[in-house]
């Protein structure tokens, strides 16, 4: 798949995939931490509603990343 480039071994590739995919979850977590330690989202009013919005928006991200990690762990 990587034309003319070095190919790391399979175990390294799988762990690399998981590392990168987890980046999306951790990035979402970072912004939820910023929300909890800072101001609620404008137009949503209070922190509870903002947190609910954040969790709802994160659900598709969690599902996609979770499915991907499962697929990698099952050896695709």
């Amino acid at each position: 798949m990587t034309a003319g480039l070095e190919e790391p071994n399979r175990a390294n590739q799988d762990s690399g995939r998981v590392f990168v995919m987890l980046g999306a979850i951790f990035a979402a977590s970072l912004f939820i931490i910023l929300l909890l330690t800072g101001q609620p989202i404008k137009h949503l009013g209070n922190i509870e509603v903002s947190l609910l919005y954040s969790i709802l928006v994160c659900i598709p991200v969690l599902c996609v990343v979770g499915l991907s990690i499962r697929k990698v762990k099952m050896g695709k």
């Binding site: 690399g16 995939r17 990343v65 991907s68 695709k76």
Partner: protein, 229 residues
């Protein structure tokens, strides 16, 4: 706690970017990882700079917050905080791996890039409202769309991730011709695309060319979208 918000965002993003870079290095090796992260900076800097210079948004919400003349963030690329570009790198790398490498590895590159773009928009539905509500960046004088964020911002995220995904797939991970660019590339470059083995210099030349030409196209599209009321 509020004055530490930019520090948490900046340092947290740097740590995550290093984590994702390490994952790319393990998955694809050094060259792809380095080209991916440097390409992300080269790809986002012109558009971000244009957005700031044209007054669409500002990163000066925390100017002077820690000490007099503190610029708001620690590391800048011109007028753009580096952590913003690293955040973009995290989203683009994770969407690339999720869809190209795992979930849709047997699908057409164009279809995969569309899913990557949509995933990025989904991520930005969280990132942008939280960041702008906490003054990490400030939208200025724009018609407000979703939760105070102009709608064209989401179009911009989609286009940027979509195009970058295609460039990385066709140029860095593989070395393939891109439909629409192949005629001009055949005219400009003496080398052939669709090769199994490629010299680094050719790959870098192709990468820079495609980044530059598609950057112009994407900027025109996003700026046009921003004019729609």
């Amino acid at each position: 706690m509020l004055i530490y918000t930019p520090l948490i965002a900046e340092l947290g993003t740097f740590v995550l970017a290093a984590f994702v870079f390490y994952g790319l290095f393990r998955r694809f090796g050094t060259k792809v990882a380095v080209m991916f992260i440097l390409g992300s900076v080269a790809w986002t800097t012109p558009l971000e700079t244009l957005g700031i210079l044209t007054g669409s948004y500002s990163y000066r919400g925390y100017f002077g917050s820690l000490f007099p003349h503190y610029p708001g963030y620690l590391v800048w690329i011109g007028v753009v905080p580096l952590w913003v570009e690293m955040g973009w790198f995290i989203v683009s790398a994770s969407s690339f791996v999720i869809f190209h490498d795992v979930l849709l590895s047997k699908s057409r590159a164009l279809v995969v890039a569309i899913f990557s773009g949509l995933f990025a928009v989904n991520m930005d539905l969280l990132i942008d409202p939280v960041a702008s509500s906490n003054n990490l960046w400030i939208w200025q004088g724009q018609p407000l769309g979703i939760l105070g964020i102009p709608l064209y911002n989401y179009f911009g995220w989609f286009m940027m991730i979509f195009a970058y995904d295609l460039i990385i797939w066709h140029t860095v991970v593989n070395f393939k011709s891109m439909r629409g660019l192949s005629i001009i590339e055949r005219f400009l470059f003496s080398f052939k695309w669709d090769l199994n083995s490629v010299a680094d210099s050719l790959r870098i030349r192709g990468f820079i060319f495609r980044l530059a030409i598609l950057e112009v196209v994407v900027i025109i599209l996003i700026k046009t979208a921003s004019l729609i009321p």
